[in-house]
Amino acid sequence: MKRLTLFLPLVLALAVGLFLAAGIGKDPTELESALIGKPVPEFSLENLREPDQTLDQSLFHGQVSLLNVWAEWCPACWDEHEDLMWLANEKGVRIIGLNYKDQRENAFRFLGRLGDPYQTIIFDPRGSLGFDLGVYGAPETFVIDAEGIVRYRHVGVVNERVWEEILLPVINRAEGNS
């Protein structure tokens, strides 16, 4: 019995080692969105393409969409744009853009150069909707279901792998429910 208690430190160390091993390779800075399961926050913002038109959260009602937060000044957004074009054109995904803390002319220049995968683009120059969505670094991509409920948030670039392994399953589930 006494000898057995001497194994206690070993057991403890192995448990700690397990957690440490699991932590390797994970990105500790990647956060799950606090809005999952909640509706998209209320907003009232201009349409980027048509400044006279005001958009609000009803934009997301009716079908599953991706909400992609981007800006011309964000280098990673340049990287992922080709994949967004592919998603919109080849996969027929409805992508709503959230142009985050950007300027109109820069946004248009960006789209003019790389193409426009967005069904609609919300213009959020002050980042107020971005803030309410808990955006902390563009690009971020939200999966929003037909009721306008946030299902998932991906931080970082979207590419084929992210689409296949993460976003598509979430979208399928969201579509299955509604």
């Binding site: 430190p9 957690f19 932590g23 994970k26």
Partner: protein
């Protein structure tokens, strides 16, 4: 050509380490002196080749050899030479090489200073150190080669050293810190050797003690330097952030402190052996854990190196092998027989055991606070941040309790202390402490329970320590003679405890009575911070060696008298395109006045952060005093005599009798 030589030297050192980890141990286990005789030459060789490799890397930095990837990533031709020198350990690979150099250095030190130890013991200790070296040599050679070349496209210039690191702090802090981390490997090696031998006795404790104390002293200085550096360089006047990397250095410090104290009990009284040997293993394991946390990227920290899963896995494997092997050995070999020694509930043994309880509780709570987010993440329970509020709420009570215990424990005796006598003994120190603490509260002008508790703990330690010194130094031949008669290890203890009191006082006072103001100022404005008046005179431009800066000028007045002129800066480093806030501080023994420039608000208005930091220097001075205590303790006669010529060996034996038999002798 040179860089390849450095790599070659590393590989040779690795081979020597392999031999070192096998040959002397085999000799010790089979009783063959001829094999054991290899221990010292192999240790020396390993150190020489590691040093050679380190020298080659340093040379590459000095001559701006940007064909070496590590140099190109961490240096720049415009860097002043002393920063080029310290840039050697400014990144992952080089700092790892520094770590290894120190490991080899400690191994050599054991080889040199252990002439009086039984050769079986020495062989085993050196072999264990050799094994640790093998692990780290493999790590650097396989995953982190600092000599890797960028060929054929050699960059014209380097990417520059991170401006945060261009500071005296980088020159001093990592070497000291690593000396401490790595130094605990010696206590670890002694513990393992003792477990292999089955000879966990007072002699083992006695040999481990000075090595542990030295390592602890270096670690103390290292941590204090890091805190001081963060204070003036990170820009916002904080001195401890409870960041995972800082916690990683605190963990082995706390358990190392516990180890020093329990070694004292084991040496003097021959008890708590299993506990002490476990602490020795745990302390070094926590050093390795620190290395893992800093270099693997599993936790987010302001101070960590770039994350790399491959390195993380390798280090975890290294950590795992070390910990599992030693704890398995521990589980099978540690003595379970209860030593038949009687100690009363008020004996010094029990006071020191309680000290261990508090220190280990503190270690565990820092560990759990640091690792809990990892555990939650593993269990898919979401992300969580554990910061200052948690640690302040849990750590401070333990620190205060440790301080109170210490003051009482100083007067305790081995085996048995009479309760009534101890209570009478403590009465006056208690009264003096209450009065003194109240006086301090009055000076600072406000009362807060935690401020009172912290200051009281500090005063209590000081009074009790001084009281005990006064008691012990009374002598018929005069006070001076009495003071001279005390051993250096006793003075080491006094210094260590007074240093701790200073740290507690500093931490408490600066947290409770510090004043911080964020103000908007245009040149000509004047603002009060506490009793100090700060006048913003002007702001201009300045060019440094490798940066340009906005250069502010402030006058500080106290009661209308000019105290100092401060020049905080906002520096722009063009190579790395980074901006640095360089605070300026009017430092003093009793207070700092701290000024940092923030954002420019309008053309001439600036956001300025002004701080009044009472007793903040005591944190680092106190740490220094603690560390000096450690060095004093190991300079004690009984350790020196052992290193002397063989003719004096007999007197060392006598010394042992004196030390072992004198209950007043503390050395803790």
């Amino acid at each position: 050509m040179y860089p390849e030589l450095g790599q070659l030297a590393l590989i040779i050192a690795l081979l020597l380490a392999v031999l070192l980890s096998v040959v002397p141990l085999a000799g010790a286990l089979t009783g063959r002196d001829s094999l054991q005789a290899f221990a010292r030459p192999l240790s020396t060789g390993m150190f020489v080749f590691t040093a050679l490799s380190f020298a080659v890397l340093t040379h590459a930095f000095m001559v701006d050899d940007f064909s070496v990837a590590y140099v190109a990533n961490n240096s720049n031709s415009m860097l002043p030479w002393y920063y080029k020198f310290s840039a050697v350990w400014g990144g992952h690979e080089g700092s790892l090489l520094l770590w290894i150099l120190m490991l080899a250095g400690w191994t050599l030190a054991v080889a040199v200073f252990s002439r009086k130890l039984p050769s079986v013991m020495v062989s085993q200790v050196l072999s264990v150190l050799g094994m640790i070296c093998v692990g780290f040599f493999l790590f650097i050679v396989i995953t982190s080669n600092p000599f890797e070349r960028i060929l054929p496209n050699i960059p014209a210039d380097g990417r520059d050293l991170n401006p945060l690191l261009q500071d005296i702090g980088l020159i001093l802090h990592p070497p000291m810190l690593y000396m401490g981390y790595v130094g605990f490997s010696v206590a670890f090696a002694f513990a393992i050797a003792a477990l292999i031998n089955g000879k966990l006795d007072a002699a083992w404790a006695r040999w481990s003690r000075p090595w542990t104390t030295v390592a602890w002293s270096f670690l103390t200085i290292g941590i204090a330097l890091g805190s001081w550096w963060a204070y003036y360089e990170l820009g916002w006047g904080g001195w401890w952030f409870w960041d995972p990397v800082e916690n990683a250095s605190l963990l082995p410090w706390l358990s190392g402190t516990a180890l020093m104290h329990s070694l004292a009990v084991t040496e003097k009284r021959g008890v708590f052996k299993s506990w002490t040997v476990l602490l020795a293993i745990v302390t070094f394991s926590l050093s390795l854990l620190g290395a893992f946390l800093v270099r693997s990227g599993v936790l987010t920290s302001v101070h960590s190196f770039a994350a790399d899963p491959e390195r993380g896995s390798f280090l975890l494997a290294l950590l795992g092998i070390t910990v599992v092997a030693s704890l398995v050995l521990y589980a099978f070999r540690a003595p379970v027989v209860h030593v038949r020694a009687r100690y009363d509930s008020l004996s010094r043994e029990i006071f020191l055991l309680l000290n261990n309880v508090l220190l280990v509780a503190a270690t565990l709570l820092v560990a759990i606070g640091t690792l809990y987010p990892l555990v939650l993440d593993y269990l898919n329970m979401g992300k969580l941040s554990i910061g200052e509020p948690f640690f302040n709420a849990t750590f401070s009570p333990l620190a205060v309790a440790a301080g109170l215990l210490l003051g009482a424990g100083i007067f305790s005796r081995w085996k048995k202390t009479d309760g009534g006598w101890l209570a009478r003994k403590l009465l006056w120190p208690l009264a003096v402490s209450v009065v003194a603490t109240t006086a301090v509260m009055l000076i600072y002008g406000s009362f807060a329970p935690w401020a009172f508790a912290g200051v009281f703990a500090a005063v209590w330690i000081t009074v009790a320590t001084a009281w005990d010194l006064w008691d012990k130094s009374s002598s018929r031949r005069g006070r001076l003679h009495g003071l001279k008669r005390q051993s250096r290890s006793y003075y080491g203890m006094v210094s260590g405890h007074l240093g701790l009191a200073m740290v507690i006082a500093g931490a408490t006072v600066v947290s409770n009575y510090g004043i911080e103001r964020d103000v908007r100022m245009v040149p000509g404005d004047s603002v009060m911070v506490g009793d100090y008046q700060v006048v913003f005179k002007s702001i201009g431009d300045r060019r440094g060696a490798n940066f340009t800066a906005e250069y502010g000028s402030f006058d500080v007045f106290l009661d209308g008298k000019h105290v100092s002129e401060l020049h905080p800066e906002k520096r722009h480093y063009p190579v790395g395109m980074s901006v640095m806030t360089e605070a300026d501080i009017d430092g003093g023994l009793f207070r700092d006045v701290f000024i940092a420039i923030g954002e420019r608000i309008t053309d001439d208005a600036w956001a300025i952060r002004l701080q009044y930091k009472p007793l903040v220097r005591w944190l680092w001075l106190g740490s220094l005093v603690m560390a000096i205590g450690g060095f004093l303790a190991i300079s004690d006669k009984r350790y020196r005599i052992r290193a002397h010529s063989e003719a004096k060996v007999a007197s060392a034996g006598n010394e042992e009798d004196v030390v072992g038999g004198k209950p007043a002798e503390a050395g803790t």
